[in-house]
Symmetry: C2
Subunit: 383 residues, 2 copies
Amino acid sequence: MSKTFPADSVGLVTPKRHFFDEPLPLDSGRELPSYEIVYETYGELNEDRSNAILVCHALSGDHHAAGYHSPDDRKPGWWETCIGPGKPSDTNRFFVVSSNNIGGCSGSTGPSSINPRNGKRYGPHFPIVTVADWVRSQARLADVLGISRWAAVIGGSLGAMQALQWAIDYPDRLRHAILIATAPKLSAQNIAFNEVARQAILSDPDFRDGYYMDHGVIPRRGLALARMLGHITYLSEDAMRAKFGRQPKGSSGKLSYSFDVDFQVESYLRYQGQSFVERFDANTYLLMTKALDYFDPAAKYDHDLSAALAHVQAKFLVISFTSDWRFSPARSREIVRALLDGDKSVTYAEIDSPHGHDAFLLPIPAYLDVLRAYLNRVAEESA
Amino acid sequence: MSKTFPADSVGLVTPKRHFFDEPLPLDSGRELPSYEIVYETYGELNEDRSNAILVCHALSGDHHAAGYHSPDDRKPGWWETCIGPGKPSDTNRFFVVSSNNIGGCSGSTGPSSINPRNGKRYGPHFPIVTVADWVRSQARLADVLGISRWAAVIGGSLGAMQALQWAIDYPDRLRHAILIATAPKLSAQNIAFNEVARQAILSDPDFRDGYYMDHGVIPRRGLALARMLGHITYLSEDAMRAKFGRQPKGSSGKLSYSFDVDFQVESYLRYQGQSFVERFDANTYLLMTKALDYFDPAAKYDHDLSAALAHVQAKFLVISFTSDWRFSPARSREIVRALLDGDKSVTYAEIDSPHGHDAFLLPIPAYLDVLRAYLNRVAEESA
């Protein structure tokens, strides 16, 4: 069965993987004895290897950022709106690399992998990984790909934290850092939401102290709750009102007078929770939320973000969305201010959008225009 | 062991209870065959019975609004800041009545009571109750107390919804309605938070379809999660930042690199969740959230709040708090606007406070001043 992909899609893509035999030291003091990273690439690396872009994924994302894995796929990669021929990350001009973070559940070494040191599944013993650990692992992937300097490292949310960490830890290895819908560290409220999500998973009897796979079960209830809660923070109040309001679930409009679903927003959340369980791993969810909580590059610099950014060489594009209450524009402006305080080059765009945090995944014209214009400039430098 | 209570406290109080033998018809179409209401009173009813104030409690509140149940009590009632001699609800001038809502878990008939029709504990069979049902039951309590007209009905959050419903359903039975930190109906986001809380309880294996008491267990995990989540919505982001920031839990400041508590906000939430389980009932929590979700007095009037308020006779005081994101000032202004559209008497105060929704329970001077001034006027009318 053949199918034609849209002309502006990268079309059929096949994930690649690389096995790293060398141990990876981690911020926790532990190490991964060896590890595998699964990644995808779109477009062609040019001769002087100057046109490579690294895309970093967010909490529940993966390496499949663009195109299709099979002609039967109903959905393309998670950033199809941004990556492809003629799109902002123009694959006619850029070589785009998108890798799955270690600790993930989509192919890179993670909690469901076998620990080579004892032949057992890592499960709850998989080490806590940090944004800096991911960046360290991505730098090795860059070495393998022969990319000494990225034209840009780009990401949204937790992905943007990786781009920021790249600029700090490898100042001479990226020309641009593009940070979308992010924060220089989590607020107490952000951490609080993550903690409730973690407790939902940890307290699910089927979590079995993280050994659920060995018991052939899944902490479905906890993981679904975590996702439902996450979804509330991804949508703005206005977006929820526009999408659901108080619309009743059934056509009768009658209240159930039970704990069944009465309003559409309830059935939406239940569906989001249930479907997430089918594709995501609970141990990975715990790891990702902890990486978010721990991210705080200024901590080592006496909580002075400008000091943390003193040695960055990359030029920055920072984008925020007006109705994002998970990482509000004020949080992006903290980064912008710290960069300006250090006389760094930074472009800041605050995009008017009612879609909350999720906006970074959506085809919002003003947003894509900013990305396109900026990346067009990056491409011209690379040419 | 004797103890002196503060001079501005009502001191030692003893809850009263009244058994209603007459069935209570409910909005659901079901009825309670009989029921008991537990309540407290502070101050003295004057001769013409014109100085009575009804205080309505919020989600996790109860009838114990002021004073102490025993000399050993560490804490007074939940609204001690507002009720007492010389306080805004001045018990030297007012007769204050505070009753526990049916469906509750503090003495009034609720899920843990015995259904007289079959001699079994109600458990999950306790009917869904609405704000209007509570008001109907409170009107009967007023009859018993010989109060044909309240000087004021007053409440915060879900309590304020009862005050609003009173004004709509019994226009000639209250002179004033005082609504604090509330909304004319829940938003999709409000409902979403409630739904996640309910799912946490319903999906806890120890919930046992609501028969947990018969099995001698408690859905501790689910109820704790629900409370943790609730607490995030009661505090403003600023309040959380001021209270916890990213302060580490231990004195070392070192990250645990585990799923243990790293930040103070995590241990605060865990504590709130655990201690709530000791004092609150899961079936009641479910009922209360559903009463919140269902509250929508305009629904019967083609979603026209002014029409719903067309026949109110009470004068209104509406108070909101700037940093309340559960029921923001904009939600209070919806009520104020609807009242003004109908040429009703309304005083509106938006109190500058960083404390989020919880502000309505706190001794904020500007807030207490507004209440005091307004209630002083009410008292003069009653004298």
